[in-house]
Symmetry: C2
Subunit: 242 residues, 2 copies
Amino acid sequence: MSGKLLNSEPLYVQLRVALSRRIASGDWKPGETIPNELDLAKEYGLSAGTVRKALDWMEEAKLISRQQGRGTFVTDPASKEATRRFNRLREASGAILRVEAHMIAISTSPASKTEAARLDMEPQQHVTRMSKLASAQGRPIMFEQIAVPTDLFPMLAANEGAQSPCYDLLEFAQRSGVLIGRGDERISIGAAEGEVASHLGVTPGTPLIVLDRTIRTIENRPAEWRMAWCNLGPHHYLAELS
Amino acid sequence: MSGKLLNSEPLYVQLRVALSRRIASGDWKPGETIPNELDLAKEYGLSAGTVRKALDWMEEAKLISRQQGRGTFVTDPASKEATRRFNRLREASGAILRVEAHMIAISTSPASKTEAARLDMEPQQHVTRMSKLASAQGRPIMFEQIAVPTDLFPMLAANEGAQSPCYDLLEFAQRSGVLIGRGDERISIGAAEGEVASHLGVTPGTPLIVLDRTIRTIENRPAEWRMAWCNLGPHHYLAELS
DNA sequence: AAGTGGTCTAGACCACGCA
DNA sequence: GCGTGGTCTAGACCACTTG
Protein backbone atom coordinates (compact mmCIF):
# COMPACT_ATOMS: atom_id res chain seq x y z
CA MET A 1 0.00 0.00 0.00
CA SER A 2 2.77 2.50 -0.63
CA GLY A 3 3.85 2.87 -4.23
CA LYS A 4 4.71 6.46 -5.08
CA LEU A 5 4.77 6.94 -8.83
CA LEU A 6 4.86 10.64 -9.53
CA ASN A 7 7.27 11.86 -12.17
CA SER A 8 6.78 12.11 -15.90
CA GLU A 9 8.13 8.74 -17.00
CA PRO A 10 5.55 6.20 -18.17
CA LEU A 11 4.02 4.38 -15.24
CA TYR A 12 5.29 0.99 -16.38
CA VAL A 13 8.85 2.36 -16.41
CA GLN A 14 8.48 3.80 -12.94
CA LEU A 15 7.00 0.56 -11.75
CA ARG A 16 9.75 -1.64 -13.12
CA VAL A 17 12.33 0.61 -11.46
CA ALA A 18 10.45 0.42 -8.18
CA LEU A 19 10.12 -3.36 -8.36
CA SER A 20 13.75 -3.78 -9.41
CA ARG A 21 14.84 -1.83 -6.34
CA ARG A 22 12.78 -4.08 -4.13
CA ILE A 23 14.61 -7.06 -5.59
CA ALA A 24 18.02 -5.40 -5.32
CA SER A 25 17.37 -4.40 -1.70
CA GLY A 26 16.58 -7.98 -0.77
CA ASP A 27 12.93 -7.20 -0.06
CA TRP A 28 12.14 -10.20 -2.27
CA LYS A 29 14.81 -12.89 -2.13
CA PRO A 30 16.08 -14.94 -5.07
CA GLY A 31 13.96 -18.00 -5.74
CA GLU A 32 10.95 -16.54 -3.92
CA THR A 33 7.74 -15.46 -5.58
CA ILE A 34 6.71 -11.84 -5.74
CA PRO A 35 3.06 -10.77 -5.25
CA ASN A 36 0.73 -11.68 -8.07
CA GLU A 37 -0.12 -9.20 -10.78
CA LEU A 38 -3.47 -8.17 -9.33
CA ASP A 39 -2.03 -7.51 -5.88
CA LEU A 40 0.79 -5.42 -7.36
CA ALA A 41 -1.78 -3.47 -9.37
CA LYS A 42 -3.76 -2.73 -6.23
CA GLU A 43 -0.68 -1.86 -4.20
CA TYR A 44 0.55 0.70 -6.73
CA GLY A 45 -2.90 1.87 -7.84
CA LEU A 46 -2.38 0.74 -11.43
CA SER A 47 -4.25 -1.47 -13.83
CA ALA A 48 -3.19 -5.07 -14.32
CA GLY A 49 -2.12 -4.35 -17.89
CA THR A 50 0.39 -1.74 -16.78
CA VAL A 51 1.84 -4.06 -14.15
CA ARG A 52 2.07 -6.73 -16.79
CA LYS A 53 4.08 -4.50 -19.10
CA ALA A 54 6.54 -3.72 -16.31
CA LEU A 55 6.93 -7.42 -15.54
CA ASP A 56 7.43 -8.20 -19.24
CA TRP A 57 10.48 -5.97 -19.24
CA MET A 58 11.83 -7.41 -16.00
CA GLU A 59 11.49 -10.89 -17.39
CA GLU A 60 13.30 -9.85 -20.55
CA ALA A 61 16.04 -8.38 -18.34
CA LYS A 62 16.22 -11.72 -16.51
CA LEU A 63 15.36 -10.24 -13.13
CA ILE A 64 12.33 -12.49 -12.79
CA SER A 65 10.86 -15.56 -14.43
CA ARG A 66 7.17 -16.28 -14.74
CA GLN A 67 5.42 -19.62 -14.80
CA GLN A 68 1.80 -19.89 -15.71
CA GLY A 69 -0.22 -21.31 -12.85
CA ARG A 70 2.67 -21.03 -10.36
CA GLY A 71 3.72 -17.45 -9.98
CA THR A 72 6.49 -14.96 -10.64
CA PHE A 73 9.92 -15.77 -9.20
CA VAL A 74 12.97 -13.66 -8.50
CA THR A 75 15.84 -15.00 -10.59
CA ASP A 76 18.51 -16.70 -8.53
CA PRO A 77 21.98 -15.54 -9.66
CA ALA A 78 23.46 -18.73 -8.23
CA SER A 79 21.28 -20.88 -10.50
CA LYS A 80 22.88 -22.76 -13.35
CA GLU A 81 21.04 -20.75 -15.98
CA ALA A 82 22.19 -17.46 -14.52
CA THR A 83 25.78 -18.61 -14.17
CA ARG A 84 25.81 -19.38 -17.87
CA ARG A 85 24.39 -16.03 -18.81
CA PHE A 86 27.72 -14.43 -19.70
CA ASN A 87 29.61 -17.61 -20.46
CA ARG A 88 29.90 -17.77 -24.22
CA LEU A 89 32.51 -20.56 -24.42
CA ARG A 90 31.32 -23.73 -26.09
CA GLU A 91 32.69 -27.19 -26.81
CA ALA A 92 33.02 -28.29 -30.42
CA SER A 93 29.65 -30.05 -30.03
CA GLY A 94 28.01 -26.77 -29.11
CA ALA A 95 27.60 -27.74 -25.46
CA ILE A 96 28.35 -25.11 -22.83
CA LEU A 97 31.98 -25.37 -21.73
CA ARG A 98 32.06 -25.90 -17.99
CA VAL A 99 35.17 -24.34 -16.48
CA GLU A 100 36.64 -24.36 -13.01
CA ALA A 101 38.11 -21.03 -12.05
CA HIS A 102 40.43 -20.13 -9.23
CA MET A 103 41.55 -16.81 -7.87
CA ILE A 104 45.18 -15.79 -8.36
CA ALA A 105 45.27 -12.32 -6.86
CA ILE A 106 43.07 -9.52 -5.59
CA SER A 107 43.85 -5.92 -4.68
CA THR A 108 42.27 -2.48 -4.38
CA SER A 109 43.71 0.91 -5.32
CA PRO A 110 42.88 4.04 -7.34
CA ALA A 111 41.78 3.47 -10.91
CA SER A 112 44.31 3.70 -13.71
CA LYS A 113 43.45 5.94 -16.64
CA THR A 114 42.28 3.00 -18.71
CA GLU A 115 40.23 1.53 -15.90
CA ALA A 116 38.62 4.88 -15.19
CA ALA A 117 37.69 5.21 -18.85
CA ARG A 118 36.29 1.70 -19.16
CA LEU A 119 34.38 1.86 -15.89
CA ASP A 120 33.23 5.43 -16.39
CA MET A 121 34.79 6.56 -13.10
CA GLU A 122 36.86 9.47 -11.87
CA PRO A 123 40.57 8.53 -11.77
CA GLN A 124 40.89 9.00 -8.01
CA GLN A 125 38.13 6.51 -7.26
CA HIS A 126 39.12 3.01 -6.21
CA VAL A 127 38.81 -0.19 -8.21
CA THR A 128 39.20 -3.76 -7.02
CA ARG A 129 41.29 -5.91 -9.33
CA MET A 130 41.38 -9.65 -9.60
CA SER A 131 43.25 -12.25 -11.61
CA LYS A 132 41.63 -15.60 -12.30
CA LEU A 133 42.61 -18.72 -14.17
CA ALA A 134 39.91 -20.91 -15.69
CA SER A 135 40.51 -24.53 -16.64
CA ALA A 136 38.51 -27.17 -18.45
CA GLN A 137 39.29 -30.85 -17.93
CA GLY A 138 42.36 -29.78 -15.97
CA ARG A 139 43.81 -27.76 -18.86
CA PRO A 140 44.19 -23.98 -18.42
CA ILE A 141 41.88 -22.29 -20.90
CA MET A 142 41.55 -18.67 -19.97
CA PHE A 143 43.47 -16.10 -17.93
CA GLU A 144 41.34 -13.19 -16.73
CA GLN A 145 42.07 -9.75 -15.33
CA ILE A 146 38.99 -8.15 -13.83
CA ALA A 147 38.39 -4.66 -12.49
CA VAL A 148 35.26 -3.48 -10.70
CA PRO A 149 34.35 -0.17 -9.04
CA THR A 150 35.01 -0.73 -5.34
CA ASP A 151 32.03 1.36 -4.29
CA LEU A 152 29.69 -0.99 -6.13
CA PHE A 153 31.05 -4.10 -4.43
CA PRO A 154 32.32 -3.10 -0.98
CA MET A 155 32.17 -6.73 0.15
CA LEU A 156 34.87 -7.66 -2.33
CA ALA A 157 37.43 -5.24 -0.94
CA ALA A 158 36.48 -6.17 2.62
CA ASN A 159 37.07 -9.86 1.87
CA GLU A 160 40.44 -9.25 0.30
CA GLY A 161 42.51 -10.93 2.97
CA ALA A 162 40.01 -13.71 3.62
CA GLN A 163 39.89 -17.14 2.07
CA SER A 164 37.60 -15.76 -0.60
CA PRO A 165 35.78 -18.20 -2.83
CA CYS A 166 36.25 -17.46 -6.46
CA TYR A 167 34.80 -14.14 -7.51
CA ASP A 168 31.61 -14.39 -9.52
CA LEU A 169 30.05 -11.17 -10.77
CA LEU A 170 26.43 -12.25 -10.51
CA GLU A 171 26.87 -13.61 -7.01
CA PHE A 172 28.56 -10.49 -5.68
CA ALA A 173 26.14 -8.26 -7.51
CA GLN A 174 23.27 -9.92 -5.73
CA ARG A 175 24.94 -9.67 -2.33
CA SER A 176 25.70 -6.00 -2.95
CA GLY A 177 22.22 -5.13 -4.21
CA VAL A 178 23.45 -4.42 -7.74
CA LEU A 179 21.25 -5.45 -10.66
CA ILE A 180 23.17 -6.59 -13.72
CA GLY A 181 21.95 -5.66 -17.18
CA ARG A 182 23.73 -6.07 -20.49
CA GLY A 183 27.29 -6.10 -21.66
CA ASP A 184 29.46 -6.21 -24.72
CA GLU A 185 32.65 -7.98 -25.63
CA ARG A 186 35.37 -7.02 -28.09
CA ILE A 187 37.09 -10.01 -29.61
CA SER A 188 40.50 -9.98 -31.26
CA ILE A 189 43.71 -11.95 -31.61
CA GLY A 190 46.79 -11.43 -29.48
CA ALA A 191 50.04 -13.20 -28.70
CA ALA A 192 50.75 -14.84 -25.34
CA GLU A 193 53.35 -12.95 -23.34
CA GLY A 194 54.84 -12.97 -19.84
CA GLU A 195 52.38 -13.74 -17.09
CA VAL A 196 49.64 -14.71 -19.54
CA ALA A 197 51.83 -17.26 -21.30
CA SER A 198 53.09 -18.79 -18.07
CA HIS A 199 49.66 -19.14 -16.51
CA LEU A 200 48.26 -20.72 -19.65
CA GLY A 201 51.33 -22.92 -20.04
CA VAL A 202 52.02 -21.90 -23.63
CA THR A 203 55.16 -20.59 -25.27
CA PRO A 204 55.33 -16.80 -25.69
CA GLY A 205 54.03 -15.79 -29.09
CA THR A 206 51.26 -18.38 -29.18
CA PRO A 207 48.18 -16.76 -30.73
CA LEU A 208 45.31 -16.33 -28.29
CA ILE A 209 41.79 -15.01 -28.46
CA VAL A 210 41.61 -11.78 -26.50
CA LEU A 211 38.29 -10.82 -24.92
CA ASP A 212 37.70 -7.27 -23.71
CA ARG A 213 34.36 -7.19 -21.92
CA THR A 214 32.31 -4.56 -20.12
CA ILE A 215 29.18 -5.48 -18.20
CA ARG A 216 26.75 -2.80 -17.05
CA THR A 217 24.05 -2.50 -14.42
CA ILE A 218 20.42 -2.17 -15.49
CA GLU A 219 20.93 1.58 -15.02
CA ASN A 220 23.73 1.25 -17.58
CA ARG A 221 26.61 1.98 -15.24
CA PRO A 222 29.70 -0.15 -15.95
CA ALA A 223 29.98 -2.77 -13.25
CA GLU A 224 32.87 -4.91 -14.48
CA TRP A 225 35.68 -4.61 -16.98
CA ARG A 226 37.48 -7.81 -17.89
CA MET A 227 40.37 -8.67 -20.16
CA ALA A 228 40.67 -12.38 -20.89
CA TRP A 229 43.26 -14.33 -22.86
CA CYS A 230 42.00 -17.67 -24.16
CA ASN A 231 43.80 -20.75 -25.41
CA LEU A 232 40.61 -22.47 -26.49
CA GLY A 233 41.99 -25.53 -28.23
CA PRO A 234 39.03 -27.35 -29.80
CA HIS A 235 36.51 -25.04 -28.17
CA HIS A 236 35.05 -21.79 -29.47
CA TYR A 237 33.21 -18.61 -28.56
CA LEU A 238 29.54 -18.37 -29.47
CA ALA A 239 28.04 -15.00 -30.42
CA GLU A 240 24.35 -14.54 -31.03
CA LEU A 241 23.05 -12.29 -33.76
CA SER A 242 19.68 -10.65 -33.98
CA MET B 1 -11.43 -7.35 -45.08
CA SER B 2 -10.08 -10.85 -45.34
CA GLY B 3 -8.02 -12.04 -42.40
CA LYS B 4 -8.62 -15.71 -41.63
CA LEU B 5 -7.38 -16.51 -38.16
CA LEU B 6 -8.70 -19.90 -37.18
CA ASN B 7 -6.28 -22.31 -35.57
CA SER B 8 -5.36 -22.68 -31.91
CA GLU B 9 -2.33 -20.40 -31.75
CA PRO B 10 -2.81 -17.11 -29.93
CA LEU B 11 -4.34 -14.52 -32.21
CA TYR B 12 -1.34 -12.19 -31.99
CA VAL B 13 0.91 -15.03 -33.18
CA GLN B 14 -1.39 -15.81 -36.10
CA LEU B 15 -1.57 -12.14 -36.94
CA ARG B 16 2.17 -11.57 -36.95
CA VAL B 17 2.59 -14.57 -39.23
CA ALA B 18 -0.10 -13.24 -41.55
CA LEU B 19 1.40 -9.77 -41.63
CA SER B 20 4.92 -11.14 -42.09
CA ARG B 21 3.72 -13.06 -45.13
CA ARG B 22 2.22 -9.93 -46.60
CA ILE B 23 5.60 -8.24 -46.26
CA ALA B 24 7.50 -11.23 -47.66
CA SER B 25 5.12 -11.47 -50.62
CA GLY B 26 5.73 -7.85 -51.54
CA ASP B 27 2.16 -6.83 -50.71
CA TRP B 28 3.71 -4.03 -48.68
CA LYS B 29 7.01 -2.81 -50.09
CA PRO B 30 10.11 -1.82 -48.08
CA GLY B 31 10.03 1.78 -46.97
CA GLU B 32 6.27 2.01 -47.32
CA THR B 33 3.85 2.32 -44.45
CA ILE B 34 1.44 -0.43 -43.56
CA PRO B 35 -2.15 0.32 -42.50
CA ASN B 36 -2.52 1.90 -39.10
CA GLU B 37 -3.26 -0.16 -36.03
CA LEU B 38 -6.99 0.57 -35.97
CA ASP B 39 -7.46 -0.34 -39.62
CA LEU B 40 -5.57 -3.60 -39.16
CA ALA B 41 -7.73 -4.36 -36.14
CA LYS B 42 -10.89 -3.83 -38.18
CA GLU B 43 -9.58 -5.80 -41.14
CA TYR B 44 -8.77 -8.86 -39.03
CA GLY B 45 -11.63 -8.44 -36.58
CA LEU B 46 -9.33 -8.02 -33.58
CA SER B 47 -8.88 -5.44 -30.88
CA ALA B 48 -6.24 -2.78 -31.19
CA GLY B 49 -4.32 -4.25 -28.26
CA THR B 50 -3.91 -7.59 -30.00
CA VAL B 51 -2.72 -5.95 -33.19
CA ARG B 52 -0.30 -3.93 -31.12
CA LYS B 53 1.20 -7.03 -29.58
CA ALA B 54 1.75 -8.58 -33.00
CA LEU B 55 3.45 -5.41 -34.23
CA ASP B 56 5.63 -5.29 -31.09
CA TRP B 57 7.08 -8.64 -32.06
CA MET B 58 7.54 -7.66 -35.70
CA GLU B 59 9.37 -4.55 -34.63
CA GLU B 60 11.59 -6.60 -32.33
CA ALA B 61 12.28 -8.93 -35.28
CA LYS B 62 13.22 -5.88 -37.34
CA LEU B 63 10.54 -6.45 -39.96
CA ILE B 64 8.99 -3.06 -39.32
CA SER B 65 9.83 0.18 -37.56
CA ARG B 66 7.31 2.44 -35.90
CA GLN B 67 7.46 6.18 -35.50
CA GLN B 68 5.04 7.96 -33.27
CA GLY B 69 2.95 10.41 -35.24
CA ARG B 70 4.17 9.12 -38.63
CA GLY B 71 3.23 5.51 -39.04
CA THR B 72 4.58 1.97 -39.27
CA PHE B 73 7.14 1.28 -41.99
CA VAL B 74 8.35 -1.90 -43.60
CA THR B 75 12.09 -2.18 -42.93
CA ASP B 76 14.18 -1.64 -46.02
CA PRO B 77 16.90 -4.32 -46.19
CA ALA B 78 18.95 -2.01 -48.38
CA SER B 79 19.01 0.67 -45.69
CA LYS B 80 22.23 1.38 -43.86
CA GLU B 81 20.86 0.14 -40.55
CA ALA B 82 19.77 -3.17 -42.00
CA THR B 83 23.04 -3.71 -43.81
CA ARG B 84 24.84 -3.36 -40.51
CA ARG B 85 22.57 -5.80 -38.77
CA PHE B 86 24.89 -8.79 -39.04
CA ASN B 87 28.12 -6.84 -39.38
CA ARG B 88 29.89 -7.16 -36.07
CA LEU B 89 33.31 -5.84 -37.18
CA ARG B 90 34.38 -2.64 -35.49
CA GLU B 91 37.29 -0.23 -35.69
CA ALA B 92 39.46 0.30 -32.62
CA SER B 93 37.36 3.37 -31.83
CA GLY B 94 34.22 1.24 -31.72
CA ALA B 95 32.90 2.64 -35.00
CA ILE B 96 31.32 0.21 -37.45
CA LEU B 97 33.93 -1.05 -39.90
CA ARG B 98 32.79 -0.27 -43.41
CA VAL B 99 33.98 -2.88 -45.85
CA GLU B 100 33.83 -3.19 -49.61
CA ALA B 101 33.17 -6.71 -50.76
CA HIS B 102 33.55 -8.26 -54.16
CA MET B 103 32.51 -11.59 -55.53
CA ILE B 104 35.19 -14.13 -56.40
CA ALA B 105 33.15 -17.14 -57.45
CA ILE B 106 29.65 -18.57 -57.50
CA SER B 107 28.36 -22.05 -58.30
CA THR B 108 25.47 -24.40 -57.63
CA SER B 109 25.51 -28.16 -57.00
CA PRO B 110 24.26 -30.77 -54.53
CA ALA B 111 25.02 -30.11 -50.88
CA SER B 112 28.05 -31.69 -49.28
CA LYS B 113 27.53 -33.60 -46.05
CA THR B 114 28.67 -30.65 -43.97
CA GLU B 115 26.55 -28.18 -45.90
CA ALA B 116 23.50 -30.40 -45.60
CA ALA B 117 24.05 -30.63 -41.85
CA ARG B 118 24.56 -26.91 -41.37
CA LEU B 119 21.67 -25.90 -43.59
CA ASP B 120 19.36 -28.65 -42.35
CA MET B 121 18.85 -30.05 -45.86
CA GLU B 122 18.79 -33.44 -47.51
CA PRO B 123 22.18 -34.21 -49.15
CA GLN B 124 20.77 -34.40 -52.68
CA GLN B 125 19.31 -30.89 -52.53
CA HIS B 126 21.23 -28.10 -54.18
CA VAL B 127 23.15 -25.31 -52.55
CA THR B 128 24.56 -22.18 -54.13
CA ARG B 129 28.11 -21.37 -53.02
CA MET B 130 29.92 -18.08 -53.19
CA SER B 131 33.34 -16.75 -52.31
CA LYS B 132 33.76 -13.12 -51.38
CA LEU B 133 36.64 -10.93 -50.34
CA ALA B 134 35.99 -7.95 -48.10
CA SER B 135 38.44 -5.05 -47.82
CA ALA B 136 38.69 -1.99 -45.63
CA GLN B 137 40.71 1.00 -46.77
CA GLY B 138 41.97 -1.12 -49.64
CA ARG B 139 43.41 -3.81 -47.39
CA PRO B 140 41.89 -7.32 -47.57
CA ILE B 141 40.25 -8.05 -44.23
CA MET B 142 38.05 -11.07 -44.61
CA PHE B 143 37.68 -14.01 -46.98
CA GLU B 144 34.22 -15.56 -46.98
CA GLN B 145 32.76 -18.83 -48.22
CA ILE B 146 28.97 -18.77 -48.23
CA ALA B 147 26.44 -21.52 -48.88
CA VAL B 148 22.68 -21.04 -49.19
CA PRO B 149 19.85 -23.44 -50.04
CA THR B 150 19.19 -22.88 -53.75
CA ASP B 151 15.45 -23.36 -53.35
CA LEU B 152 15.30 -20.41 -50.97
CA PHE B 153 17.10 -18.08 -53.35
CA PRO B 154 16.34 -19.20 -56.91
CA MET B 155 17.38 -15.77 -58.23
CA LEU B 156 20.93 -16.34 -57.11
CA ALA B 157 21.42 -19.50 -59.16
CA ALA B 158 19.65 -17.91 -62.13
CA ASN B 159 22.04 -14.95 -62.03
CA GLU B 160 25.12 -17.10 -61.84
CA GLY B 161 26.49 -16.26 -65.23
CA ALA B 162 25.43 -12.65 -65.14
CA GLN B 163 27.42 -9.64 -64.01
CA SER B 164 26.00 -10.14 -60.54
CA PRO B 165 26.46 -7.38 -58.04
CA CYS B 166 27.95 -8.58 -54.79
CA TYR B 167 25.72 -11.02 -52.96
CA ASP B 168 24.04 -9.60 -49.90
CA LEU B 169 21.87 -11.91 -47.83
CA LEU B 170 19.32 -9.32 -46.79
CA GLU B 171 18.89 -7.99 -50.28
CA PHE B 172 18.37 -11.40 -51.88
CA ALA B 173 16.15 -12.50 -49.03
CA GLN B 174 13.85 -9.58 -49.73
CA ARG B 175 13.78 -10.24 -53.46
CA SER B 176 13.01 -13.90 -52.83
CA GLY B 177 10.31 -13.25 -50.24
CA VAL B 178 12.37 -14.75 -47.40
CA LEU B 179 12.20 -13.13 -43.98
CA ILE B 180 15.44 -13.22 -42.03
CA GLY B 181 15.39 -13.85 -38.29
CA ARG B 182 18.31 -14.58 -36.00
CA GLY B 183 21.67 -16.23 -36.29
CA ASP B 184 24.67 -17.36 -34.34
CA GLU B 185 28.38 -17.25 -34.93
CA ARG B 186 31.13 -19.53 -33.66
CA ILE B 187 34.44 -17.77 -33.23
CA SER B 188 37.83 -19.44 -33.04
CA ILE B 189 41.43 -19.13 -34.18
CA GLY B 190 42.84 -20.71 -37.28
CA ALA B 191 45.94 -20.48 -39.43
CA ALA B 192 45.93 -19.01 -42.93
CA GLU B 193 46.41 -21.64 -45.62
CA GLY B 194 46.27 -21.95 -49.40
CA GLU B 195 43.52 -19.92 -51.04
CA VAL B 196 42.70 -18.10 -47.81
CA ALA B 197 46.28 -16.93 -47.29
CA SER B 198 46.68 -15.81 -50.88
CA HIS B 199 43.44 -13.85 -51.00
CA LEU B 200 44.24 -12.14 -47.73
CA GLY B 201 47.83 -11.54 -48.78
CA VAL B 202 49.37 -13.08 -45.67
CA THR B 203 51.98 -15.78 -45.27
CA PRO B 204 50.64 -19.27 -44.60
CA GLY B 205 50.46 -19.94 -40.88
CA THR B 206 49.40 -16.41 -39.97
CA PRO B 207 46.81 -16.68 -37.18
CA LEU B 208 43.33 -15.57 -38.25
CA ILE B 209 39.98 -15.24 -36.59
CA VAL B 210 37.64 -17.86 -38.00
CA LEU B 211 33.92 -17.12 -38.05
CA ASP B 212 31.41 -19.91 -38.58
CA ARG B 213 27.97 -18.37 -38.92
CA THR B 214 24.46 -19.66 -39.52
CA ILE B 215 21.56 -17.29 -40.14
CA ARG B 216 17.97 -18.50 -39.99
CA THR B 217 14.62 -17.33 -41.32
CA ILE B 218 11.96 -16.15 -38.91
CA GLU B 219 10.55 -19.67 -39.19
CA ASN B 220 13.96 -20.86 -37.95
CA ARG B 221 15.06 -22.57 -41.14
CA PRO B 222 18.78 -22.07 -41.89
CA ALA B 223 19.10 -19.59 -44.74
CA GLU B 224 22.85 -19.07 -44.93
CA TRP B 225 25.98 -20.79 -43.70
CA ARG B 226 29.19 -18.80 -43.87
CA MET B 227 32.79 -19.51 -43.01
CA ALA B 228 34.96 -16.40 -42.83
CA TRP B 229 38.67 -15.96 -42.21
CA CYS B 230 39.63 -12.54 -40.86
CA ASN B 231 42.92 -10.69 -40.70
CA LEU B 232 41.50 -7.87 -38.64
CA GLY B 233 44.64 -5.88 -37.90
CA PRO B 234 43.68 -3.11 -35.46
CA HIS B 235 39.98 -3.93 -35.75
CA HIS B 236 37.89 -6.32 -33.66
CA TYR B 237 34.65 -8.28 -33.49
CA LEU B 238 31.94 -6.97 -31.20
CA ALA B 239 29.62 -9.41 -29.42
CA GLU B 240 26.66 -8.26 -27.39
CA LEU B 241 25.70 -9.96 -24.16
CA SER B 242 22.32 -9.97 -22.50
C1' DA C 1 -11.67 -25.62 -6.53
C1' DA C 2 -8.68 -21.88 -5.94
C1' DG C 3 -4.98 -19.18 -7.53
C1' DT C 4 -1.69 -18.01 -10.92
C1' DG C 5 -0.05 -16.06 -15.32
C1' DG C 6 -1.67 -15.54 -20.49
C1' DT C 7 -4.91 -13.78 -23.90
C1' DC C 8 -8.23 -10.56 -25.56
C1' DT C 9 -11.45 -6.78 -25.63
C1' DA C 10 -13.29 -1.85 -26.03
C1' DG C 11 -12.66 1.91 -24.88
C1' DA C 12 -10.06 6.74 -23.17
C1' DC C 13 -6.52 9.98 -23.38
C1' DC C 14 -1.63 11.59 -24.42
C1' DA C 15 2.56 12.80 -27.43
C1' DC C 16 4.27 13.53 -31.71
C1' DG C 17 4.66 14.78 -36.91
C1' DC C 18 2.89 17.11 -40.49
C1' DA C 19 0.25 20.02 -43.48
C1' DG D 1 -6.24 20.05 -36.52
C1' DC D 2 -5.94 15.63 -37.87
C1' DG D 3 -3.85 11.16 -38.00
C1' DT D 4 -0.39 8.41 -36.13
C1' DG D 5 1.65 5.45 -32.56
C1' DG D 6 2.14 5.20 -27.12
C1' DT D 7 0.07 4.77 -22.56
C1' DC D 8 -3.43 3.26 -19.47
C1' DT D 9 -7.73 1.38 -17.76
C1' DA D 10 -11.31 -2.22 -16.22
C1' DG D 11 -12.89 -6.06 -17.07
C1' DA D 12 -13.71 -11.01 -19.19
C1' DC D 13 -12.22 -15.46 -20.08
C1' DC D 14 -8.60 -19.23 -20.85
C1' DA D 15 -4.66 -22.44 -19.52
C1' DC D 16 -2.00 -24.21 -16.23
C1' DT D 17 -0.43 -25.78 -11.40
C1' DT D 18 -1.34 -27.14 -6.96
C1' DG D 19 -3.71 -28.80 -2.87
